[in-house]
Symmetry: C2
Subunit: 672 residues, 2 copies
């Protein structure tokens, strides 16, 4: 069979008729041509390193082999990237580069066993160690003498941190802390790299001195011998087992039995334990919110990147795939020409843009609040926290749904791992429960909304992102523009907040406690927080686009605004019940919205491939037979299939062992 | 550490306070005590067979080892079940037993490589071979001399069967068919067991005689030598590679290069190829709809079973898990007491019931239509087909969402494979694209709806399931009862059908062709079919429950009707936009519905564990550390973790090979 090596004709035609400059859009999404250049250099550098590409795809290896292969690659990658030179970038540019860099996913489909060393472990020590501790630990961490991870979650407790059961009791006689896991549920559970990779670990433990609780404090604990890598005395370590994804991350468990560590292993930037057992409490426990907010902010861009990858794969496939024959005597259409397919895909392109815009705005607010914190001003921290909670919850939930929609839009082929869509989903849906469970996060934002709702009722001013709650005016006539839809969503969120206040009041009047009334209202509270996040996502998308796109060419701005409008109209139609309840939108308006939605799909259609090309994900990052730049979909599906080790032999040994005796009516043994 | 072996206290308390007889409900769901008894005997029989339980969970094996282990178990299971005796059951009871039997999922987490031999291969030959062919093939199939599969889908074509590219050209000189795969996209792709297991295969191929097309016909083709198992000459076979699930099913590809088979290998019950090349066409191509309808019907119960498993796991876990501390000085509540958790879980219990009821009703209609078909009466086939299309699409889509909701309701622990929730999702979401892609199926039902919509407009009668479209009366006052909600959904579906007719007309008036108008309306057409399926699911659930539950005790009927009401109110709130557009429901009605929903959650709460116990899934079927009957959640999570082969050694070899050199600043080699 002659196999073509050139770009698929249909895909080439799509590119030829694209109306805007794809590179211009890439630079815009990256935050400038300079950042694009750095990003591409980084990608080239990593992909030129020998030994980082798998000969046998990792899905064919055993669990153990996968881990060993991942350690090998992590170490090679560390050596290759040792001294990254980003000197010409300022702080914002560095942040942007980090947010749009996806190259490690080209190496680790299921993430690196060192990922927590570089992220949480290093961040927490940098943020919570005192100067002396920093001086001691940072060089060891940087030159990989110390390989670490971060252990907070336990078998029995996750998002509810106060419930952690690991204990650290201070013994002034020896000036040591004694660490214990008093119950099975106290075992640390989940930290990446904890099982067999790390030799140190930041441990969050309930701390006691002189029989009194000193709250939850962070400790740096050596868990393995640096020479033999054997677990230290009183330290129980192991792997938590296979998961939906992250299988090369080496997630582990950790238990302590009277494990003693020196006093100076408590990270003492904020709180301190004196030699005699005097505990000095830090200024505010809210200061740790900073790190949490930062991570939730990066999740927005992570979702944007993952969704961008998924929709790139699905859109290119839809341009190549031809199916069915609605008109006799005409060729089968590209499935991208079916409006149902456009409906499945285009909103994901827009959503990805919405997340980038929101993440960049959040970064600006984060920097501002962080600078204020340094001067002891905690005024705007609560708002930032409330924002980051609902946005993390809504974007991870939406992305989970949209990535699956991209996958199923590819039919059965999306079910193949060679499409890389199942693995993308596994990565995305993990964020649904990590870094704060979504329902709990929504309820945190809901608490801020309820407070704001009460404040505006009594004429007080509230934080900027909730200021719209103060506008008690009614919409007199529905306005189908993006601006009008945003206004509508504001009324929905305000209406839902009011409904929650009413429900709380009703239950309290019925004799329920405040806590029970809260619980009984909680389904509506989650909905209120979700409604608030719709206001934020859409209005920030709009205002950030307006603020940053003015210098772009008219053609590019046209498609960017088409996507914005699509996003607005899509969500208006998705939340029609809310709009009908809380705004004067009429059936005729709805019909017009539906028609506008369908018209927008048609307008975006000719640029669909250009729009996903502009995300600029390299083939190695997409890692997909369906989504490669050249569109050789069927050839690549077959090439990937042939890499399965089962295809190395025409006849598998199980034929002789089991099938042949069965065919001959002979009994086969029960054991291999 | 002392590990408890008794049932978790919280779970025991839940069972103690259950208000209804759990066994009574189990018998009801099974279709009678007699069927429950048979089901349990079957389960005991299989689980008593030696060698069917995995010592190392299959997720830790390599892809190749998993397949070999699955063949071993498939053969042992075949021998053990060789002569199943169901003689005391009538046809309906046998069908019910089959629909509620899940035992093979206790053996194969990822399904059996022989599954298509037993199902499609045997069914198609039974249904489409002529008498002589049956006599020749059936004994060989039953005694496993012939191991088969069914090859329809190709790399380039799935649901659109007319597009299949495999050719079978009849050569009258040798009285043979010549099979060819003229292009890469003509390769068969997906059949289970095709890669290395089957030695025969039913192949659907575009058939030609005397240079003329004879349509798509089925052939039975030997693909491997019975003695050596080597692929036959002109037959190319292999595995398609790793997938999201079904990894032990051995899905394969198949290509032909001038492969010759005797004339009598065409299945000739309906169409025939005479020796001289005369092609005699069968009565109606619609007769094959029968098998498709049957399989889609079984999918409803498959979804009911999978969702029942998922919600059993999540509900038991929610009864055991305690988290957070809303009230100071009180213990952490069971998370099942959080209303948000009830909101996530209880609708899945109701949905599972709804699917069983709908499947049982569909079975009755299927039997009736099938009997009619035997007499040449095709009158009701179209309606049955339209019903099965939208129900398959809606139930697989809903179940995908609900199983994931069950999974994420378990927080991070639901992400562990030891919860068995990710694998349940992989199984369920496969049905989203197999046996007809969901969007295509909705559009088939939409076609029937549009026809019915036109017919009722001109006063003609339409099929029973669409008869409600003829009721043009307006609802004058909203009625919040289940009956009223069904009425409301009927108006929604009718309104959506009307909106589609309007949209079609608008586009045709604009000068569009019929086909283009259809495409431009297709987003709304899918919504119309979905709205129709809401009417069916809810009204059949209600009427089937009313028809079959009258003999149950009052306590059991009470909870069954609570679930029905929950299902109705849940969907009314989910589809509020539609109801507000097409019915006179008011804001006050909505508020009342919301309150009723919350009240229903509270009523179901005390029976939640009893309700999932009543599904009666054995621990081996649930296969879940979170969902076992004894509720030893944390102990089992740890026990399962310790089965990971990575935990067999305290130090993995990768430390010495890679990590230690890294720590010492030495370069490590690039290759293992």
């Amino acid at each position: 069979m002659v196999v073509s090596r050139k770009v698929n004709e249909d895909l080439q035609k799509e590119r030829d008729r694209c109306t805007f400059n794809v590179k211009e859009l890439t630079h815009f999404l990256d935050g400038g041509e300079k950042i694009t250049k750095y990003r591409k250099e980084l990608e080239n550098r990593v992909l030129n390193v020998k030994g980082l590409r798998d000969e046998v795809p990792e899905e064919y290896l055993s669990h153990k082999e996968r881990y060993e292969n991942a350690v090998r690659k992590a170490v090679i990658m560390h050596q290759a990237l040792g001294n990254l030179d980003e000197n010409n970038l300022n702080e914002q540019e560095k942040a942007r580069l980090g947010l749009r860099t996806t190259i490690s996913s080209a190496i680790f489909k299921d993430n690196s066993p060192l990922m927590l060393h570089y992220s949480m472990f290093t961040n927490v020590i940098t943020g919570q160690a005192d100067d002396e501790q920093l001086k001691y630990w940072l060089p060891k961490i940087r030159n990989m003498k110390v390989i670490g991870t971060y252990a907070q979650t336990e078998l029995g407790h996750g998002t509810f941190i106060r419930g952690l059961e690991t204990t650290a009791e201070y013994d002034p006689k020896t000036e040591e802390f004694v660490l214990n896991s008093p119950k099975l549920t106290a075992y640390k559970w989940w930290p990446g790299g904890l099982a067999h990779t790390a030799n140190h670990c930041v441990v969050m433990a309930h701390t006691y001195s002189r029989g009194k609780s000193c709250g939850i404090q962070p400790f740096i604990v050596q868990i393995r011998d640096l020479d033999t890598h054997m677990p230290m005395k009183g330290v129980k370590l192991g792997e938590i087992g296979a998961k939906l994804g992250f299988n090369t991350v080496n997630n582990g468990f950790l238990g302590f039995e009277n494990h003693r560590i020196p006093r100076d292993r408590m990270l003492m930037k904020y709180s301190q334990m004196k030699k005699d057992g005097t505990f000095v409490s830090g200024p505010s426990s809210k200061l740790v919110y900073g790190t949490m907010v930062y991570i939730r902010m990066t999740i927005l861009c992570l979702m944007g990147n993952c969704l961008g990858k998924a929709v790139t794969i699905a859109t290119r496939y839809a341009a190549v795939r031809r199916q069915s024959q609605p008109k006799p005597n005409e060729p089968e259409p590209q499935i991208l020409d079916y409006v149902t397919q456009q409906h499945k895909l285009f909103v994901s392109i827009a959503t990805s843009h919405a997340y980038y815009m929101n993440c960049y705005r959040l970064w600006t607010i984060y920097k501002k609040v962080n600078n204020e914190l340094a001067t002891g001003n905690l005024e705007n921290l609560a708002e930032l926290h409330a924002l980051s909670c609902c946005l993390k919850a809504t974007t991870t939930a939406d992305t989970s749904i949209l990535v699956e929609r991209c996958r199923t839009s590819c039919g059965g082929h999306g079910y193949m791992l060679s499409s890389n869509l199942p693995q993308t989903y596994a990565n995305v849906t993990a964020a649904y429960t990590y870094e704060g469970e979504n329902t709990v996060l929504h309820l945190q934002t809901a608490r801020a909304l309820m407070k704001a709702g009460t404040q505006v009722a009594s004429g007080q001013t509230v934080s900027p992102s909730m200021a719209y709650l103060a506008d008690r005016s009614k919409i007199t006539k529905w306005d189908n523009s993006v601006r009008g839809i945003i206004k509508g969503f504001e009324k929905v969120a305000a209406g839902r907040v009011e409904a929650c206040l009413y429900s709380m009041q009703r239950h309290i009047t019925d004799g329920k406690s405040q806590e029970d009334a809260w619980n009984l209202t909680s389904v509506q509270l989650v909905a209120a927080s979700e409604a608030h996040s719709r206001v934020i996502l859409l209005s920030v998308y709009k205002s950030e686009l307006e603020a940053t796109s003015f210098a772009l060419s008219g053609e590019t701005r046209t498609v960017l605004y088409q996507l914005l409008e699509l996003y607005a109209v899509y969500w208006a139609l998705e939340r029609l019940g809310d709009l009908l309840l809380y705004t004067p939108i009429t059936a005729a308006d709805v019909q017009e919205l539906q028609q506008r939605y369908e018209t927008l799909l048609g307008k975006i259609r000719p640029n669909a491939v250009g729009l996903v090309d502009a995300f600029d994900f390299r083939d190695e990052v997409l890692n997909s037979a369906l989504g490669a730049y050249d569109g050789r979909v069927y050839e690549r599906l077959m090439e990937e299939a042939l890499r399965s080790p089962l295809n190395a032999e025409p006849v598998n040994q199980s034929f002789h062992k089991y099938l042949k005796p069965l065919m001959q009516g002979k009994l086969v043994p029960h054991k291999l």
